[in-house]
């Protein structure tokens, strides 16, 4: 890899050896996986050819039948999302969300860097099936290599007749425009992404409408799909919905990419079987992370990106299945698992996340702009040993103003607490605000003693004493 000259610094393989289903990472083992030559030698663009040989509605039905869950975070089925566009309103656009920046998430970048043609083919299939007349591929600003690989791939694909006018000699024509951002986490929210693509500050739009499929780019129906979601389509069109749903479970078919980082022996990006693989398999399995570093005990882990409430070893046997993880108090989100071993300073770990969200607040909603900053400041003070016990309850109070009511958390046998299911209610128009609270809430709920050991206990003076 050009970014790792001489291989001096090791890098996640991104695929697992052995006989396992590989839907999106099948080319990762090749050094030249990103070239058109390699792509064509490994079934490349045959999914597109299969799609164009059928009427668009049939292709749309194939994707619907496969229940391809959105891999960006919300897990909404892509086929259904495409169906939300209003009848008879044209043009419709496709915006690809390659603004991967959720803490812990590392998969879309690999897909863009190592197999850009697969993504391009996925975009083409989506445009064909849903009648989308132009595609904008929005890549995160900081990902220079991904931008270069996609630009090269697009140039190759245009020259070879796979993108642009009369694709493969058919009546299907669509342009794909590479666009990159300039550094703002909130732009990963789909309406903020659209604002940014219109040349504005990347602030989320007021809802409703809840989906840009109704009103999106330039006020037109717009489908926003995640990179990994689209990368599934070439395989799906080559092999059919039946083969796709034969992998995984009925409600979570196929595979998904997960990144496991933190205190495991072998951190990495792995393509796992949806709905079946458990967190225990992933963290301790020989083919995956091989256990906790230095033989330490597992203390806690974040199961689905920095925004997700935390789990402890009690939840290790849950599979990657939203219908089980949700009631257990968290979410699968963007497939990012961050692992903390017994040596972890929990308040400090929580601060690294809360600081991120406070910093990335776009400032539109007061509860997030002010609340996030308050949480960061209070938590900072506690971490520095300058807090008091009143600060701990104050953090819950601030959180309550961002997310009113019970906030989701996991059950814990030792503490004798039962789970509060996901999701939460929120006073903000996007998830940045609640995400600043999630790590604070989880850490305080599950590891309160670590905070108490850090703060000064105040002696409260009774009001009557002051009055005298």
């Amino acid at each position: 890899m050009t970014s790792n000259p001489g291989g001096t610094w090791p890098h996640a393989p991104g695929f697992i050896e052995g006989d396992r289903p590989r839907i999106v990472t099948s080319r990762f083992e090749y050094e030249d996986s990103y070239t058109l030559q390699r792509y064509l030698a490994t079934d490349g663009y045959s999914g597109l050819r299969a799609a164009l040989g059928r009427p668009a509605t049939e292709v749309h039905d194939e994707v619907k039948n496969a229940t391809v869950l959105g891999r960006g975070g919300a897990g909404f089925p892509a086929g259904n999302k495409w169906g939300l566009t209003p009848q008879g309103v044209w043009p419709r656009y496709l915006v690809v969300n390659g603004d991967e920046s959720e803490p812990g998430t590392y998969k879309d970048r690999l897909l863009m860097e190592r197999d850009p043609h697969q993504l391009i083919e996925g975009c083409l299939i989506a445009c064909y099936a849903a009648g989308l007349s132009q595609c904008f591929l929005y890549v995160r600003g900081e990902m220079a290599l991904a931008q270069e690989r996609i630009a090269t791939a697009l140039n190759e694909a245009y020259a070879a007749g796979y993108v642009g006018k009369n694709i493969l000699g058919s009546k299907f024509s669509v342009d794909i425009v590479l666009h990159w951002g300039a550094g703002a986490y909130v732009v990963g929210e789909e309406t903020a992404l659209i604002e940014s693509l219109e040349g504005n500050r990347g602030m989320p739009r007021l809802k409703p409408p809840y989906f840009p499929a109704a009103i999106g780019l330039y006020g037109q129906p717009t489908i926003v799909n995640n990179v990994e979601t689209l990368a599934n389509l070439p395989w799906l069109l080559r092999n059919g919905a039946e083969a796709y749903t034969a992998i995984g479970t009925a409600t979570s078919p196929g595979t998904r990419m997960v990144a496991v980082s933190g205190h495991v022996k072998r951190p990495g990006v792995y393509e796992i079987i949806n709905g079946i693989t458990t967190f225990r398999d992933l963290l301790y399995g020989e083919e995956f992370c091989q256990g906790i570093r230095n033989g330490n005990e597992l203390k806690a882990f974040v199961p689905g990106g920095g925004s997700a409430p935390w789990f402890t070893p009690d939840q290790l046997d849950l599979p990657f299945e939203a219908s089980q993880v949700g009631p257990a108090g968290s979410m699968l989100g963007s497939g990012a698992i961050m692992v903390m071993d017994s040596t972890t300073d929990i308040p400090r770990a929580a601060l690294t996340l809360t600081r991120f969200y406070a910093h990335e607040s776009c400032g539109k909603c007061t509860p997030c702009r002010e609340g996030g900053t308050w949480l960061e400041r209070i938590l900072s003070r506690v971490v520095d040993g300058k807090g008091t016990d009143a600060d701990l309850d104050q953090m819950f109070e601030v959180g309550e103003s961002i997310c009113p009511g019970a906030f989701p958390h996991a059950s814990n046998e030792k503490l004798g607490i039962t789970a509060v299911p996901f999701p939460y209610r929120m006073n903000t128009i996007c998830f940045v605000g609640p995400s600043a609270y999630a790590p604070v809430h989880s850490a305080l709920t599950l590891f309160r003693e670590e905070f108490e050991a850090r703060v000064t206990k105040r002696t409260l003076i009774p009001v009557t004493a002051v009055a005298q």
């Binding site: 090791p10 220079a144 270069e148 990347g202």
Partner: protein
């Protein structure tokens, strides 16, 4: 300092032509300006406004939202060290301290020779390779103090010039849509019908 050069205006027009509305090209053109000058100047913003049909204040309004745009010169090499959870768990904060002492500047500062600017960055999507950093958006993985020192030595000696362009250039490859292959962008209000391939029949 510095409106876009003639060559960049040509590129700018090509970029603008890809979008149904010119304003969408604002961020790509800001990148182009930063590539030209190393940072964003007032003249460039005014010029971009003329090209996309916005006031310079509107262009600044957009530009100032995004962290990658710098309004004052930064070092030739912008070093972003990640401070979010996965990196912090694996020694990211210690790496920042080491970087500060090696370069003799604080986070946000630039060395007096104008070669390096240090910044604390948020998650860079290399979490399994923690702690990580970027030099002008080129990754370095599992960086130890020794790795960092070697990197600085190499940058100072100019050994990485071919891999890492000076600050301002992000991707060094551009998309180019050949005139005879592109469909061309159409303003949304000029589109009244659905696409031709939605006629109930296979396209091929």
């Amino acid at each position: 300092m510095a409106r876009l050069t003639e060559e960049n205006v040509r590129l700018a027009r090509e970029i603008i032509g890809r979008y149904p509305k010119p304003r969408s090209a604002t961020i790509p053109l800001l990148h182009l300006a930063q590539e030209q000058d190393g940072h964003i100047t007032n003249d460039a913003m005014a010029h971009i406004g003329e090209l996309v049909g916005a006031t310079s204040a509107e262009v600044y309004g957009t530009a100032s939202f995004y962290e990658m745009f710098k309004f004052e010169p930064v070092g030739k090499y912008l070093i972003n060290i990640c401070g979010t959870m996965s990196c912090a768990l694996m020694g990211g904060e210690e790496l920042m301290h080491h970087a500060e002492s090696r370069l003799g500047i604080h986070m946000g500062g630039t060395t007096s020779d104008g070669l390096f600017t240090l910044e604390k960055a948020e998650c860079q999507a290399a979490c399994t390779e923690a702690p990580c950093l970027q030099v002008n958006y080129r990754y370095r993985y599992r960086v130890t103090s020794e790795n960092f020192d070697t990197l600085i030595d190499q940058l100072q000696a100019g050994e990485l010039n071919s891999e890492i362009p000076a600050h301002g250039t992000v991707a060094s490859v551009r998309q180019h849509i050949p005139a005879d292959r592109g469909v061309g962008a159409v303003a949304p209000e000029d589109v009244t019908e659905g696409p031709a391939w939605l006629d109930g029949k296979a396209a091929l």
